[in-house]
């Protein structure tokens, strides 16, 4: 875990700010006559929104000042500086989309009815810049603290709020969204459902497996060999591998068919996803238990604790942070992996990605990809907070 002791604005934020300054020269929007036509770029500086240019310029100026170790910035302590940089990162992230949205609205009023405005390189570079500022700030803020969470999620929350108010509605990605609003929420839910079930299964399997391999040293090698191999099978191949046996089973046994299990759809997807999620959970459970200080375990035994008491009141609490780190990795991976599930008809946000790929419609791809990124960030952060909450107090130095 990162420590807040040497809080300092670091190089990542300087790099982020430099990227951001260059981004101001990149196209903010690309206007197309229709979905297939080639586009004309719109830049920040020749938009009416000179204000936006000044706004970003001002923010990056502050970041540069804050990174200086002498001069006027010396007035501020390191900690507030770091937090300010993180805050600016969040603002940049949201503002880039916001200005693109408002610029699109202004242009749309004057343009032909089927004109489309997609996000230009400028928006992506600005988001990258904002993200780098956030990451750089976060490293210096205590993991799991309220401030850390605020820095992680405030931009995202504001983004979702603006999305609700329709600030982005003239962007082409939102037109894709407007055309399939109901479907979108269904797929978000389906995505969450697949991810959650898969992780739940991986937990139920992985934790006992981790305990088991820890208790039987002889099993360690073969079991991890298997789980590691699964991890290296490419995603699609694993889904494919499951189609044949599951189809066979459902054809052979009507009972299985009535349960809704067949070669394609949710069942193979969940199986594959939980197999993928298995490794980090099993491995971290195993390692977490293994790294409990032998002297502490001995002490427990010497005090007259039973095996069960040693397990629940010593081994588990002491390995909880490590185990939860594994769970976090699994969850974040699963959110991403679930995108592939769409390929075998299980649904989820991957549906839009693969439709978009099929139709060469980048906006549709984004409609699938952006929410996946948001979900991954939210999952990651909430697991961090949960881990911090559940870590025994004496282990936090």
């Amino acid at each position: 875990m990162t420590e807040a002791r040497n809080a300092r604005v670091d190089r990542i934020s300087i790099l982020g700010a430099i990227i951001g300054v260059f981004a101001l020269a990149a196209p903010l929007l690309v206007q197309k006559a229709n979905r297939l036509a080639s586009g004309t770029p719109h830049y920040l500086w020749n938009s009416n929104s000179v204000f936006a240019l000044l706004f970003f310029g001002f923010l990056y100026f502050i970041v540069f000042v804050l990174t200086m170790q002498r001069g006027p910035a010396k007035m501020f302590k390191q900690k507030p500086r770091v937090i300010l940089v993180g805050l600016i990162g969040n603002i940049v992230l949201v503002a880039s989309f916001f200005f693109a949205g408002s610029e699109a609205r202004r242009l749309a009023a004057a343009a032909a009815p089927y004109a489309r405005f997609s996000l230009g390189a400028g928006v992506w570079l600005l988001s990258l810049s904002g993200y780098m500022l956030i990451v750089s700030a976060q490293k210096s803020v205590k993991a799991g603290s309220g401030m850390n969470l605020f820095l992680s999620l405030s931009g995202l929350a504001l983004f979702i709020f603006l999305f609700g108010t329709g600030a982005f509605k003239d962007l082409s990605i939102m037109q894709e969204y407007a055309a399939r609003k109901e479907r979108f929420f269904q797929e978000v839910l389906q995505h969450l459902r697949l991810t959650n079930i898969a992780v739940a299964i991986a937990l139920l399997l992985g934790m006992p497996l981790g305990v088991w391999t820890y208790r039987n040293q002889r099993l360690e090698k073969p079991i991890f060999a298997i789980i590691n191999t699964i991890q290296t099978i490419p995603g699609l191949a694993l889904f494919g591998l499951l189609i044949a046996p599951l189809s066979l089973l459902s054809l052979r046994y009507p009972l299985i068919r009535t349960l809704g299990i067949s070669g394609i759809g949710a069942a193979p997807a969940i199986i594959a996803l939980s197999l993928y999620a298995l490794l980090p959970i099993t491995y971290n459970t195993h390692i977490g238990l293994k790294t409990v200080d032998a002297a502490v375990r001995e002490a427990g035994r010497g005090m007259g604790m039973s095996r069960r008491e040693i397990f629940f009141s010593i081994e588990v609490p002491l390995s909880v942070p490590v185990i939860f780190n594994g769970v976090r990795t699994s969850v974040v991976q699963a959110v991403g992996n679930t995108a592939i599930a769409a390929l075998i008809g299980a649904g989820g946000l991957g549906t839009f990605i693969f439709q978009g790929l099929g139709q060469a419609a980048p906006d549709l791809i984004l409609l699938g990809a952006l929410p996946i990124i948001a979900l991954a960030v939210i999952a990651d952060r909430s697991m961090f907070v949960l881990t911090a909450l559940i870590t025994p107090k004496g282990l936090k130095v």
Binding site: D293, A295, V296, E298, A299, G300, R301, G302, M303, G304, M305, S306, E309, I314, P317, L318, P392, K393, G394, L395, V397
Partner: protein, 369 residues
């Protein structure tokens, strides 16, 4: 109280403990000592059944330990493990309360007991109860380790190098405190160390081991005076006369100290006493009897100026407490180049002095007392 009968422990090829028998009486401290790997920890762990002997029997209060369930047996034996092993996720109070909790004590009696033990070990309960082991110094952690072993007031205490991980100065302080506590509690203690000075200071009986066998089992005095063979002789070293001094405490060999209160009419007193004074120096105290320094009588008589002849000192630096050993007293004399050291009580009051001649006499006698 506890008796080991021809205990042997074999690991595939190696015989870690070989046909060992000894008994420890109620209230005694028996110290197991020997080079690293000689089987000390193995013996300790067989006593609380963390290891099963290959052959032989162990009786505690006349009962074969194999008749008790291991967990139950262990809850009734205090155990300080070699690496302390405090539970890092539990507070100091929770650590101490582990065995009482296993025994099903009520919450209130556990709290009361914890505070009592912290007091006993010289740690303020208000300050330490809620601390986590990660924040303790080495010496504090060792004390908590001992407190945890004492928690359920077991009659038998197994201590595996309990003061191993602290610097020599702190270790000495811990030993003195432990002896004080032991005088009060009268536990039967089996204590492992590979520090001979520690063994000599604490033991009623020393069991010297080598490669799993007992080489000599004796009182510290006897072991130092009559080493059984070359191995023991080498082990106790050429300075055994010096080492033996660690068996004697200052309190038992105090001489009366000539001390004068500075408030009195000192010049007159000295002049009156002059003929009776044998030493050139005289301890000077304040009205409460606290040591202030010493007076060079000759210098005083020559100049008749008290301040000129008086050397003021910090009592803690120059004087000894009554529970120090003669070995420390001698070391102090040699380092300061003096032949007498003042002895003070807890409030810095002069209670006597210890003389080089006394120490010499003891080293010459075979066995005093």
């Amino acid at each position: 109280m506890i008796e080991l009968k021809s205990i042997t422990k074999k690991y595939s090829k190696l015989t870690a403990v070989n046909e060992i028998s000894f008994r420890v009486e109620e209230g005694e401290i028996c110290v197991l000592i020997g080079p690293s790997g000689c089987g000390k920890t193995t013996i300790i762990k067989m006593i609380n059944r963390m290891l099963e002997p290959t052959s032989g029997e162990i009786y505690i209060q006349g009962k074969n330990i194999e008749e008790s369930k291991p967990e139950i047996l262990r809850r009734n034996i205090g155990y300080v493990i070699q690496n302390i092993g405090l539970f890092p996720h539990m507070t100091v109070a929770e650590n101490i309360g582990v065995v009482p909790r296993l025994l099903g004590w009520s919450k209130n009696s556990i709290t009361a007991r914890t505070e009592e033990l912290l007091d006993l070990l010289g740690l303020d309960p208000d300050e330490y109860s809620d601390k986590y082991p990660g924040k303790l110094s080495g010496g504090e952690a060792q004390r908590i380790g001992v407190a945890r072993a004492l928690a359920a007031d077991p009659p038998l205490l197994l201590m595996d190098e309990p003061f191993g991980a602290v610097d020599p100065l702190n270790r000495e302080r811990l030993q003195i405190e432990f002896l004080k506590i032991q005088r009060k509690l009268k536990k039967t203690v089996i204590f492992v160390t590979h520090d001979l000075d520690e063994a000599i200071r604490l033991a009623d009986t020393i069991v010297l081991l080598k490669e799993g066998s007992i080489i000599q089992k004796d009182t510290p005095e006897n072991m130092l005076a009559h080493p059984k063979n070359r191995f023991v002789k080498n082990f106790v070293g050429t300075d055994r006369a010096l080492k033996r001094l660690a068996r004697f405490t200052v309190a038992d060999y105090l001489s009366k100290a000539e001390g004068l209160c500075i408030e009195k009419n000192i010049s007159q007193c000295i002049k009156n006493k002059r003929d009776k004074l044998q030493n050139r120096f005289l301890w000077i105290t304040d009205r409460q009897g606290r040591l202030m320094g010493w007076l060079d009588i000759e210098a005083f008589l020559a100049q008749d100026d008290i301040e000129e002849a008086l050397t003021r000192v910090n009592p803690a630096e120059i004087a000894l407490g009554a529970d120090f050993t003669l070995k420390e007293a001698l070391a102090r004399m040699l380092s300061q180049g003096v032949s007498a050291i003042p002895v003070i009580d807890n409030a810095d009051r002069l209670i006597g002095e210890i003389n080089l001649s006394t120490i010499e006499k003891i080293t010459q006698e075979g066995y005093p007392k």
